[in-house]
Symmetry: C2
Subunit: 149 residues, 2 copies
């Protein structure tokens, strides 16, 4: 829980960004919303990397405070919320995509997933446009052996 939600004052834009999403978990939650169509707290808990409830709750609260994510009442369950990316959150797409491209080049482990990587290589501008319009179709459920996504 290194992320303390304090903004450093060096004026450096790299530091500004890292103060908001520079940790092991933030961009995984953004990924779940942006690429996997996930919307609820429960969805994010099942994101695949075993995020803990306290980290997830803290990050969602921080994202709301920063205007990256907004929430609304779930019409199907008045006690629950649906989370979605704002324009500021969708603008994180290039960063996410570049991380995927870098990892695709350097992650040689046999279980490394290549589905989004291949889609990015085929049509990155199209993927970015669909993210920004909120139209990106959720990626299909991941197969057990992880050949896709």
């Amino acid at each position: 829980m290194e992320n303390t939600n304090k903004l450093r004052t060096s004026g450096c834009p790299v530091a500004f960004g890292l103060d908001i999403f520079g940790d092991r978990w933030s961009l995984l939650i953004i990924r779940d919303m942006m690429l996997h169509g996930k919307k609820t707290y429960g969805d994010f808990l099942e994101g695949g990397e075993g995020i803990s409830t306290n980290i997830l709750a803290a990050r969602l609260k921080q994202f709301e405070a920063q205007g990256i994510v907004a929430k609304s009442r779930d019409p199907d369950s008045g006690r629950s919320y649906l989370y979605h990316l704002t324009d500021k959150g969708r603008d994180l797409a290039p960063i996410l995509f570049d991380i995927i491209l870098w990892s695709g080049k350097y992650d040689a482990r046999p279980f490394a997933r290549k589905g989004v990587l291949n889609r990015l290589k085929e049509d990155r501008p199209g993927m970015e446009a669909r993210v920004r319009s909120g139209e990106l179709a959720p990626i299909q459920p991941e197969p057990v052996n992880g050949a896709e996504d």
Copy 2:
């Protein structure tokens, strides 16, 4: 010190990248090497955000283990090392640049620095090419009022 240097095994490329550089400090050290021409442990300590010696030492060790950074003996001081980015490290440039562009759009604080942002907007392909060739001239020392960089 959330970064534990353990690689998660979900196969997700976002998780892979974040396991290597997903924390508040890693990309600031990369920034110092990539954009500011910094090379020594002492240079990085003075990076402007007050990184602690233990975090800096841990990150440099981790970068070396991951092949992002390599070190050589400083010819001017046999006890010191010079650190430089490998090709794998230079390939982080697009991620760093996208963070700078995102922050440039959303950091409205009066002391936010715009120098690199403006250079990126003018000629991003040129900056990337120079980073990859190791030829990017160090950015000039930062003025007290932070109008540049």
